[in-house]
Symmetry: C2
């Protein structure tokens, strides 16, 4: 708990994260991970018990702090008395994009997140559900209060739409560069974050056409 010397354990986590985002869960072999970490083949089993437990640890190490930051920002909003819809959406979106910008692992976290979500493995999806649960439980009531004309059910769906747009955007932003023939810059995180927040805020606020039309 003193300094940040690279233990074998953290080296394994780093190497695993890198290789998983590069190759996927299945093709990131224990052999390759231990080799990249300058550790022994048996190190994964010694430190984590199995490859699956290592993967879980990789996911939890990233998603945990990310979601904690989301909660922290939401609480900062409430403490400041400025609980606008836009601020709440930003509290959810911005930490993920900020994290994607940090270091060299630009899309790594989000791709990891997206991969873990879309993985059919029920084990990994359970980890994701467990990690996201407190965040959803905290954000939804705030959104309900901010949008009294929108039903609870609709709020849940819109939160889901938000997560989808966010995960897809960070993990696969480079696709837009290809489609737009370079007109869009997937590395301009500030612009992306702003555009996404504005888009989602509008969806939350105006996503219910006049009730009289039904």
């Amino acid at each position: 708990m003193t300094a940040a010397e690279p233990t074998t354990r953290t080296s394994l986590l780093d190497a695993a994260e890198l290789l998983i985002t590069e190759r996927g869960f299945a093709r990131a072999s224990v052999r390759a991970i231990t080799e990249a970490a300058n550790a022994n083949v048996a190190a994964v089993n010694y430190h984590f018990g199995s490859k699956l437990e290592l993967i879980k640890a990789v996911i939890e190490r990233r998603i945990g702090p990310l979601n904690a930051e989301r909660l922290r920002r939401l609480e900062a909003c409430e403490a400041g008395g400025e609980v606008t819809l836009e601020a709440v959406v930003e509290a959810f979106v911005a930490p993920a994009i900020a994290d994607a910008r940090a270091e060299s692992h630009r899309q790594r976290l989000a791709r990891l997140l997206g991969m873990a979500f879309s993985q059919p493995s029920s084990e990994l999806r359970a980890v994701m559900l467990q990690q996201f649960r407190p965040v959803i439980d905290r954000f939804v009531p705030v959104l309900i209060e901010l949008l009294p004309d929108v039903s609870q059910e609709q709020i849940y769906w819109r939160v889901h739409f938000m997560i989808g747009a966010l995960a897809f955007t960070i993990g696969l932003g480079d696709i837009v560069e290809a489609y737009s023939d370079g007109r869009c810059d997937a590395s301009d995180m500030d612009s992306i974050s702003r555009q996404l927040v504005e888009f989602l805020t509008a969806g939350f606020r105006y996503g219910t056409p006049g009730e009289d039309s039904r």
Copy 2:
């Protein structure tokens, strides 16, 4: 080209699709696929050349018709003279959700789509890009015309947000059921489609706050 008798080739495609969406690309082995298709182990290599080529064929078989339907619906809008923003968004969203409802493979197509997108394998991502390119190229100009105050760059990003929300929703709708403690029904495709179209339409239309505020 006469009837639809189940050839070995199509049995392999069906079995591969099912197993891929259940287990993922890596864990859907050639052995399991051929067994499920009541075919011989060597059949995959005989008919497709390799496992990778089989996977590509599975993706193309589903995404191709889906995107063709999107183009067809967009053209129907234009022919009818009713090119509203909502109709255009619906032309993009509804075919995917309709397909997800058909047969028993509820989330299969979309999960396949999401998995193929988030797969680090550059081979598969190239297939996805190639399949989506004509759709993007067709929808973007229409959206530009409908939203003269929104820059081209922003349109591309919003289309990206739309795809993300859509893919995530169809592929992982059951997550919402868990988070909402059953308040949301992920099998009510009509409701989901309507809500998603309304959410996205609002994002497209009102996603740009007044310019005077900057």
